[in-house]
């Protein structure tokens, strides 16, 4: 797998954006800014997914993460908003910040070293090169209607999701149900409970 041309450029743009935004998520003073940057990160990751020809996952990422989870985050941030943070009165980091950053840095370095054998061994494969030469990916089919190439990602992911991973799918739905009930129970105050009774 090797990205060429504009895709390579886009990859670098997205990767740098992702990392910067990710760092800003961690360092922002205000939780809302943090959330905003996390949204940017998530959108960047979704675009990377598209680069990887996983449009469906990208769509789900945007729909669920950006449209759902992040709205939830913003809700909660606004519910528990404390003015102290905005007025620079609050310590942002715990006492172990510097040890934590050090350990994280060491971990990053060690990961790079751990990938060294893979880097040594990596060469673009023969079939890939040929496929790229032919101009079409195995995962892409041409559609007559618009004359453009359209990925079949959605169909194949759907097949896999509903045929091979049907049981995990059901379990995941059950998990979601439990999470909904749990979240409602947790977030519901005694006042609301009285209201309902």
């Amino acid at each position: 797998m090797q990205l060429h041309g504009w895709e390579a450029v886009i990859f670098y743009v997205l990767a740098i954006g992702t990392l910067f935004m990710g760092v800003y998520v961690v360092t922002a003073r205000l939780a809302v800014h943090s959330a905003l940057c996390l949204i940017a990160t998530l959108v960047n990751v979704a675009l990377l997914f598209i680069l990887l020809r996983s449009e469906f996952v990208a769509g789900v990422q945007i729909l669920v993460y950006v449209g759902g989870v992040m709205v939830l985050f913003l809700f909660v941030i606004m519910l528990v908003q404390t003015r102290a943070e905005e007025e620079d009165k609050v310590k942002l980091y715990t006492r172990q910040m510097w040890p934590a950053v050090t350990v994280a840095f060491l971990l990053a370095i060690s990961f790079f070293f751990a990938m060294q054998p893979a880097q040594m061994a990596y060469r673009p494969s023969q079939s890939q090169t040929e496929a790229e030469k032919k101009g079409d990916d195995p995962g892409v089919r041409s559609e007559s209607g618009a004359g453009l190439k359209v990925s079949t990602d959605t169909e194949s992911v759907g097949e896999a999701l509903y045929r091979q991973a049907a049981l995990p799918f059901e379990i995941a739905s059950l998990l979601l149900l439990v999470a909904i009930v749990g979240a409602v129970l947790l977030a519901r105050g005694s006042k609301q409970e009285k209201l309902y009774e």
Binding site: G68, F75, V80
Partner: protein, 134 residues
């Protein structure tokens, strides 16, 4: 950085600009870096909500990793099969979707806990909630 440097230096047979073309390894590096950023956030921030967001970063790093590998396996299907390695490349996106589901569930429940906690303790700072201390 040294790794990246080595990577660029070692591909002597490629034209210079080609050496910068991103491969699986680049995606993995990005994923690791994202992961590490998330870990640093989880370990050092005080605001629970931001810690949750850092966890989302970690999960996204994992997702990126999964999708990148899936793509790699999909493209190199035949080569790998020739080597006797049959991998269903679609399990990557499927698993990614499950991770997103779990992340959504986690966010819902976790934020519910945050709200309950805030209602009781009037704080979202993690180091003020240390009742488990000896």
């Amino acid at each position: 950085m040294s790794s990246l440097l080595a990577f660029l230096l070692l591909q002597q047979d490629q034209p210079f600009i080609k050496r910068f073309e991103p491969t699986l390894v680049h995606f993995l590096m990005l994923s690791f870096l994202l992961f590490v950023v998330g870990v640093a956030g989880v370990l050092s921030r005080r605001n629970i909500i931001i810690i949750f967001m850092s966890i989302e970063l970690i999960l996204n790093a994992v997702n990126l990793n999964l999708v990148a590998f899936s793509r790699y396996f999909q493209i190199n299907q035949e080569v790998l099969r020739a080597k006797g390695l049959v991998i269903d490349s679609l399990m990557g996106p499927v698993f990614t979707i499950f991770i997103i589901v779990v992340a959504a569930a986690e966010a819902a429940v976790g934020l519910g806990i945050v709200i309950a906690m805030f209602r009781n303790r009037e704080t979202v700072a993690i180091d003020e909630i240390d009742m488990l201390k000896w």
